[in-house]
Subunit: 378 residues, 2 copies
């Protein structure tokens, strides 16, 4: 989606609920970004491209719409310190620490319960902490529109990314092509037909050509009551478990209650648990230069290249190097001679040399390290 003309934007800004909140999900361990990502500093806590870490940029790019005091982050005990350090402006009570990872439905349900207590039936924006957005103005326009739709429709709203290739690594959302008289046409929202799992290449190609499929970005926008009702209807067990926690929120007993409740919870994604089954769903197709940075190959693709199709960061020496991505870190030096199609990621205590196109296999390194008990490299 292109930025709207100025006049329209002003009108929309007035439609934005003044009390929209955000819940940033910062749970992933980012094994595919080894050796830069570690258990204590996964992808979202790294400065992978440009300046600022992924989670910092996730916060900053919402700034004119959702100020930092209304942003919650839900994360793991391992990442808590890093999150607090990187986001010192957030109120301390806005960092929620899950005792264990239980996928997105429990995390989002917990965030919604906390917001119900603190902010009643606010609109709540759920965002992954580790995605890249190139066109921030376009992102903000989409977000404002999505908030307006969520507030007014009391439905489940999501942002879909207009696909640019037959990607098999993402889920897709099909929407109802509709005329200009549909509800929320002005906000560029469409009714959702279905959520589709990661397709094979042939299906992905068909999705791409159809024009009514978008990538599932993992961004959701809804009123607190909408998602808590959705969980009550489609995940009644989780709803009950969250209900038992309710009285402990913002009390000294909360961490213990959370630990006990999480022990019982079934891990399930919000997509599978609620979105695929719910009604009254809307998607806003968008085109703001989104990238979920799923692997080193994607990072390598995004970097500007030299005449030999190579890119580098840090102090490096490249001699007769073609189509390579070479990165080293403060205090270290990397030299590459006579190489093609390689990704070289050099860090303070480890180095990865990986053929381009195979960086999905980096998680095998992490599995191996775990199996071998080489915890210091995890």
């Amino acid at each position: 989606m292109k930025a709207s003309p100025r006049g329209t934007r002003i009108v929309k800004r007035q439609q934005v609920a003044m009390d929209a909140y955000a819940l940033i999900i910062a749970g992933g361990v980012g094994a595919r970004f080894w050796p830069r990502s570690r258990e204590h500093s996964p992808k979202q806590l790294l400065e992978i491209i440009g300046s600022g870490t992924m989670i910092q940029n996730t916060v900053y790019r919402m700034d004119p719409i959702i100020p930092q005091e209304r942003i919650l982050v839900i994360t793991s005990a391992q990442q808590e310190e890093g999150v607090r350090k990187q986001l010192p402006q957030l109120p301390p009570e806005n960092i929620i620490v899950e005792p264990f990872g239980r996928n997105t439905a429990p995390a989002i349900g917990l965030g919604a319960e906390i917001l119900r207590k603190r902010a009643d039936d606010a609109v709540m924006v759920v965002l992954p902490a580790d995605h890249l957005v190139h066109d921030i103005a376009a992102f903000q326009d989409t977000l404002k529109n999505a908030i307006a739709v969520a507030e007014q429709s009391r439905g489940f709203v999501t942002v879909g990314i207009t696909p640019t290739r037959p990607e098999t690594g993402y889920g897709y959302i099909q929407f109802q092509k509709a005329d200009e008289t549909r509800p929320y046409a002005e906000e560029n929202a469409y009714e959702v037909v279905t959520f589709a799992e990661k397709p094979n290449l042939e299906t992905a190609q068909r999705f791409l050509e159809s024009g009514d499929f978008v990538w599932n970005s993992g961004m959701f926008i809804w009123r607190v009551s909408t998602i808590l009702n959705g969980i009550a209807e489609h995940l009644p067990e989780l709803s009950e478990e969250l209900g038992r926690l309710r009285g402990d929120i913002d009390t000294d007993g909360f961490p213990a209650a959370l630990e006990s409740a999480y022990g019982e919870m079934r891990p399930i994604s919000i997509d599978y648990g609620v979105m695929e089954k719910a009604e009254n769903r809307f998607v806003l197709p968008a085109d703001f230069g989104w990238n979920d940075l799923g692997s080193w190959d994607e990072v390598a693709r995004l970097y500007p290249k030299d005449e030999q199709d190579s890119a580098s960061t840090g102090e490096v020496f490249l001699r007769d190097v073609r189509n390579c991505h070479v990165s080293t870190t403060e205090g270290r030096y990397a030299a590459v001679i006579g190489a093609e199609d390689l990704i070289v990621i050099d860090t303070a205590d480890a180095v990865l040399v990986c053929r381009k196109g195979r960086s999905q296999e980096v998680k095998e390194v992490v599995d191996h390290l775990r199996k071998k008990g080489l915890e210091r490299f995890l």
Copy 2:
């Protein structure tokens, strides 16, 4: 040369001068072994293959023939500390520190002057500090024979390595094929015809096939008087400069005198300055598994390989890796995925990724670092 039968060996041992000394030349900066070799710890101070550093093994393998108290090491100020640390058994006064590198002729001349003062006309074995010897018994037999020839002939004696391939990276020595009645036939010595520079491939092939060319190993054996007379005849300037130093040897004024004398000296190799011009030269062809370890490619060649023709040292993860040499260091981890024909050398502060066959170019990295003033990586 194969080890002689036991009886012969005993006879030869009796022929060995009881006061043979060794001068180990430890001056090289080993740029081709970057990033493992550094100015303060060049190749000779590293444990590149097996256990023990190159210079330690150079000392140890002479042990039954030349005990440590009769071994001198000539090195640079930068390497002095490393040499003393690695060879604590050597008398401190046996470590000679050159103020600047002036190639081998001044170093050998200086060593000979020191020995003249300390040991009169002893036989002196000159050895590079950074060569590999596989068959130590055969090496020791050769050395004993060479010492005997040097003592008795009062000539310039060298060890030549029987070539196994048309190597263009070494100098060659042609010897006089002769019958069994020649002098020192029992010691397997031959008269030298000529010293040949590094040949091109065609010439190297011819040398290999001829049967009367051997590789110049850089090992020389002679009486102190022989080499000092050779220097006087062929390098009179150096002889004069050394003469002026004579009185200062083993006095407190020696370092200052050395600094002043070295400032004037012309860098020249003993090969070019003396050996190529001298008469009464002998070479002992030998075959004791010698390797000058000139590059990472040679190191890679010497390692035992796995089923994928790869070898590794340190904590590594190799997945779908063929014909690679991967080395990392204590406290670090290296992962390689989908690579072929690569040398990966990972160290505490730098990493090298180099296509096999191109490790001669590693010195370009060192040149670049020097040019850029990145001294900490040198």
